[in-house]
């Protein structure tokens, strides 16, 4: 026994090291696969367009970042001259934030009603609400468009945001969350003399802070990244969001003799960055909110 033991540690160490190297190699390759395209886009925003047109993305970091940024933010693509990057950024913000807030407010209210009240038609309301989880907007896109048209909602922020809210994802999250809160809490609150409104404001909302934050991140990203619905419902260029404007960018690149890759790619970056930064910065909340959805 005593003869064998001294030999073992180095052996174990060596094999451990080897597999660790493998693990890291795979992870680094995976990270490169995901990140290199983004880095290439970033690179082309720093070089002159002629350089990009000749050689494509390279390694050199150029000095055009400022110029391209200014062009992306303040130069318009279309005929109206309305859809500058600035304008689209604002529209994207309105869509992302409006969508997230709308989802959270409606979802919390409905979930509160379903979980904490004795309601005669609760089962019916439950099914009415949760059936919406079954069918994505894409399969009812045309009639939705017609209804938005009938209601005069084309090219309005209401028309952009509200139809997207018509699904119960947030309600579902909040319902799950509320159900996980110990029952004794509402009982203690009732003995402490808190009515339904007080309980909601004093206890439930502060208690749900993390959940609300996670929900906000997920919904903001989801809203920001919407494409099909904004494409249909907004035709005025001053209503375009960044993501909606992407197609126009590709058409711009096709049509001209010297395509403005610097500006176009900068706009793409501006469309990517806000949601990415939120997701990265609030990673732990976001992951928690996302992965708890399947429980």
């Amino acid at each position: 026994m005593t003869d064998i033991t001294p030999n073992q540690p180095p052996l174990a160490k060596r094999s451990l090291k080897w597999s660790t190297v493998m693990d890291h190699t795979v992870l680094i390759l995976g990270s490169l696969f995901l990140l290199v395209p983004l880095l290439m886009v970033l690179q082309t925003t720093s070089t002159p367009d002629l350089e990009t047109i000749k050689n494509g993305p390279g390694l050199a970091i150029g000095d055009q970042l400022d110029d391209n940024f200014m062009a992306a933010m303040f130069k318009a693509s279309g005929f109206s001259g309305e859809n500058t990057g600035m304008r689209m950024l604002m529209n994207s913000m309105i869509l992302g934030i409006g969508f997230a807030i709308g989802k959270i407010v409606l979802g919390m209210m409905a979930a509160y009603a379903l979980v904490y009240f004795r309601l005669r038609f609760a089962t019916f309301a439950f099914w009415l609400i949760f059936t919406t989880l079954l069918l994505p907007l894409e399969v009812r896109i045309l009639p939705s468009y017609e209804i938005a048209q009938k209601l005069g909602l084309l090219n309005t922020y209401t028309g952009l945001i509200v139809p997207l809210i018509a699904s119960a994802t947030a309600t579902f999250f909040f319902r799950q969350y509320f159900r996980s809160i110990p029952e004794e809490l509402v009982e203690a609150a009732r003995i402490d003399g808190a009515g339904p409104v007080k309980f909601f404001i004093d206890i439930l909302v502060p208690l749900s802070q993390t959940m609300i934050a996670a929900m906000f991140i997920i919904m903001f990203v989801y809203g920001w990244n919407q494409y099909l619905w904004p494409t249909m419902v907004t035709t005025d260029e001053d209503m375009y969001t960044l993501v909606r404007g992407i197609k126009q960018l590709t058409q711009d690149l096709e049509g001209t003799s010297i395509p403005e890759y610097g500006r176009a790619n900068m706009l793409a970056l501006i469309a990517i960055l806000p949601p990415v930064l939120i997701v990265i910065f609030f990673q732990s909340w976001f992951v928690k909110g996302l992965t708890e959805s399947d429980k």
Partner: protein
């Protein structure tokens, strides 16, 4: 409902009202309308419509073009689901194994989650640019003359690649958190029972991860069917032409561009049935999940 629910009558109704209103106007109404107009033939110039019964459906069933698109969608969905799940699982298992740096890798691998599908398509266009795209060059060095938008196989390959690229992070996040929620004691028990890391993975880790996998499978199929719209639209540059299309894209093209409301609605209804079937499968699987926990 909680044991000691509040008994106030009007408040819950007031709380439910906004949600119900939005759902009824923008979910049930359009869904019902889709079903209804799938039985009508609408005049392309907007002069009324005629009831045609199941004509729109029989037309779809006989359409060779529709069959082709359905077949492509099936292949596309299988490829996207398989590769994005497989790659994400590999990365998650590795990230779970490295003790130091797991969080940094998670951060690096998460970026793309927040990229919108059409923006992903835009980046795809860049990568596959005919004259200097890095991936076109790469393909060329293997003797593959890649021509996005010209050769339909090449276009399809680009669609799959971009869709996988966009979907890996979500799957990775779920797989990693699934792996991390496997109790340490179970891993230690496996470590004592079995010396081969490979066997441990297939005998213990993989079955315990199966619930997450089932859930993701459905998510990925839905993603490939619907959420890839933006990728497809940008990669084909809004020109269907001879390019491969997915079913959702066809709904959009026929209804919005071709003004064939009836045909497009019938396609919508077919998709609805498809999604409902998927959901039933999902619920079945959810029931099975419970039995693990």
């Amino acid at each position: 409902m909680k044991r000691a629910g509040f008994t106030t009558r009007w408040l819950p109704i007031l709380l439910l009202l906004p949600q119900l209103a939005v759902i009824i106007v923008f979910f049930y109404w359009p869904a019902a309308q889709a079903v209804q107009s799938s039985f009508y033939l609408e005049d392309p110039f907007g002069f009324g419509s005629t009831f045609v019964g199941l004509d729109n459906y029989t037309y779809l069933a006989q359409s060779a073009e529709y069959a082709k698109i359905a077949r492509f969608t099936l292949v596309f969905t299988i490829l996207v689901t398989f590769f994005s799940l497989g790659l994400a699982l590999l990365l998650a298992v590795k990230a779970d194994k490295v003790i130091r740096g797991a969080k940094s890798y998670r951060t690096l691998l998460m970026w793309v989650y927040a990229v919108a599908p059409p923006v992903a398509g835009f980046i795809g266009l860049l990568m596959f640019n005919q004259s200097w795209g890095p991936l076109t060059e790469l393909a060329k060095s293997f003797g593959w003359d890649f021509a996005l938008g010209v050769n339909s196989t090449d276009t399809a390959a680009a669609m799959v690649l971009v869709s996988v690229w966009k979907q890996v992070p979500v799957n990775f996040i779920f797989f990693l958190s699934g792996l991390q929620s496997i109790p340490k004691s179970v891993r230690e028990a496996a470590l004592i029972d079995c010396s081969s890391a490979m066997r441990r993975f297939w005998d213990v880790t993989f079955p315990l991860l199966a619930p997450t996998g089932f859930f993701l499978l459905i998510i990925n199929i839905t993603y490939a069917l619907f959420d890839t719209f933006g990728i497809v639209d940008v990669l084909v540059k809004g020109e269907p032409g001879n390019n491969p299309l997915t079913l959702v894209y066809k709904v959009y093209v026929d209804g919005f561009r071709g003004n064939d409301m009836g045909g497009s609605s019938a396609q919508s209804v077919v998709l609805m049935v498809l999604v409902l079937a998927l959901t039933v499968v999902q619920f079945r699987l959810v029931e099975r999940r419970i039995h693990y926990t």
